[in-house]
Symmetry: D2
């Protein structure tokens, strides 16, 4: 299991994170993580896991795995295959890759049996409670009203963070809670941690930043 | 575009083709392809493309790509990313990863614009005609009645091959036709070629063979 | 909310329950429910809800509704529309129509706001706990190992029933639990009730029975 | 098969077309169709087919059917069931309910065998050619650039209509072509017919019109 507090970066399918460009992001995350002594991980596209794992000292995660076992499947992302390629865990049920409930259950069990870290994404308190029933390592809460907006979770809606933590812990004490939207700067990060979050899940704020190192530092400084 | 006649191997998510084990299959395919002077390609899991491309002299294909462009997508398989990882093309609409029609259209256009080979799978004559409308490089015909069975396409149902070729060419002259089921041995392969096919698409017959080299040779000899 | 203990019949898309034939099943369920003084409901295909509601005295349910609101949707099953057609509730996440987690959350909220009964299906204890987080009216537990088999839940695996009840009630005290597989006869039904279930969810055992009334009686007698 | 030229109205899941409100729309379409002597049909939600068929003299269509046969399916929309409820055909692959290619093939075959009219939707010329391979009764072309916009197909982009007709007829002479977007008024309708279309597929322009009869008349007058 990854240490907390933690900064997890989802590089998505951004052009800035595909091919050679991804190396710059991995390097910035590695250096900043080391400099601030803060735990971190990077979720990359399936075809980049092997290459990223070779060059990154901080853990590489998959962005998604399928609910399949070895066998006659074509085009699926097998948990065993991403582990072999170097991934230490996977995002599950991201809002951009929403899964059927049975599949979330199956994937969490597969990841646990392979000792891969599970980060399930959730969009509201009821869904957070539902996924907490699977007792995953992490629940990352991404309230739609905060995604991509100008609302800062820690200042404008601090109760979203503390409520989420309370809901998840009420079902599964072992599960850590990440704040997955509304994080703009170090002040938001430190407020989220004060409110009980075990870290943050970020994407464009770092990946698309003009000043990559500056953006990383602004986030890690808040932890 | 890949040369024809061609042998395309889909290694699926078989345990025999995940991790280190995949190297043996790549090696056997490379050696046999060279020995018989026959064109070949291998479709591997997304997380294996980079590593496979480093060691294989015959082209590596993706088993699937998603109908997405650069951007805010998580867990998707981006055509640009598999190209960067070394893939020379992709299977599309395999019977184990069936796609919405609009997505097939979009993926074929994306692959063409990236100069990646497109191999669309089809399950009957009407679907073969439909996908031929996109004028892909290859249509691989996998009649459900021949998949995984004991029926040899070339002997028991030779008209399936010749009909498929006729249907596809009737819509798109440039498209090559692969026989994707019912191929058991060199005799089936040579019969398929005689009947107008431009090659074969295979999976378990090679991947799960006890005698990997023997299985490869039995297929390549038929071309 | 429907009274318990209850017998819910899912007529699926069986030929015996499509068109005129459905009338016989509705009539048998109505008569037997009245005769034994036991609560009952019937889940029918969307296009049969209106007609069934006109002739049935026991509540008609939808087999599925979509997570959509009024608007620009085509082919979807709108909760408001099935309510107008006469449905008193809906199955949700049946094993033959498995839903994305966010959609289950959304549908439960839509059904509650329309005062329609919610019957969520679950396939194991962890999924039962997850769906209980939405505090639905009913959770119907359908363990895959009991579906369509010869194993009687009450005799062969009684702990499946009592465990499910305990898991669901541990998260949501208000939620009733239905036994959704392994019910063959009145003895199974009465044992399920003894073990804490609030009723049963059945399909082919009644719909495809040669002796429709006999099959109904055998189930209702057990309650 | 429905007569052409034809006006097909898709009432979608609009609030103005759910429950009692749907009756007004059916009545307006019936009267205007009769008044102008023009063929027409209305595609309604599954749960409204039975009730609509009782009161409409012009044919009622389903908005979608599933690629399933009689059997153990829950929540699906069975072609046989919508036929029994009174539907004379179905939309297939609407842009709001996009289908896997194999399912389009299967549904078209099911509808043909039940003598139900098939109206496949398409979003561009290549997809129109692909679906024409199934030789359906109708292809309705809905270019995304015209949907919901202010661009009038007949005036601003007349070549979209004539190209679509040419592409579809090039593959299947028997298939009729409907113009499915960019139709604002009688002038657009008459221009579409002049350019070779066999009718129009409409939705909000009529369903959400303040003056329902006026909107119907404006469309039917153009044919």
């Amino acid at each position: 299991m990854l240490d907390v507090p933690i900064v997890i970066l989802n590089v998505k399918c951004y052009e800035e994170a595909t091919g050679e460009a991804l190396n710059r992001i991995i390097e910035a995350m590695n250096k900043t993580s080391l400099e601030y002594g803060v735990s971190a991980a990077i979720a990359v596209q399936a075809s980049d896991i092997y290459r990223s794992s070779l060059v990154s000292k901080i853990p590489i995660l998959a962005q998604h795995v399928d609910a399949v076992d070895y066998g006659s499947f074509t085009g699926h992302i097998l948990p065993e295959a991403v582990k072999f390629a170097g991934a230490k865990g996977s995002l599950v049920n991201h809002s951009e890759y929403r899964l059927e409930l049975w599949a979330i259950d199956s994937i969490i069990k597969r990841l646990k049996s392979l000792e891969l870290t599970q980060v399930i994404c959730s969009n509201n308190d009821d869904v957070s409670r539902a996924v907490a029933a699977f007792e995953p390592d992490f629940v990352a809460v991404e309230p739609p009203e905060l995604i991509g907006g100008d609302i800062s979770v820690s200042k404008a809606k601090p109760e979203i963070v503390s409520n989420s933590v309370e809901k998840v812990k009420g079902i599964s004490k072992r599960t850590k809670v990440l704040c997955g939207a509304g994080i703009k700067n170090s002040e938001d990060v430190s407020k989220a941690i004060q409110l009980g979050a075990d870290g943050v899940l970020l994407a464009s704020g770092i990946v698309r930043a003009k000043d990559l190192y500056g953006a990383c530092e602004d986030i890690f400084r808040g932890i």
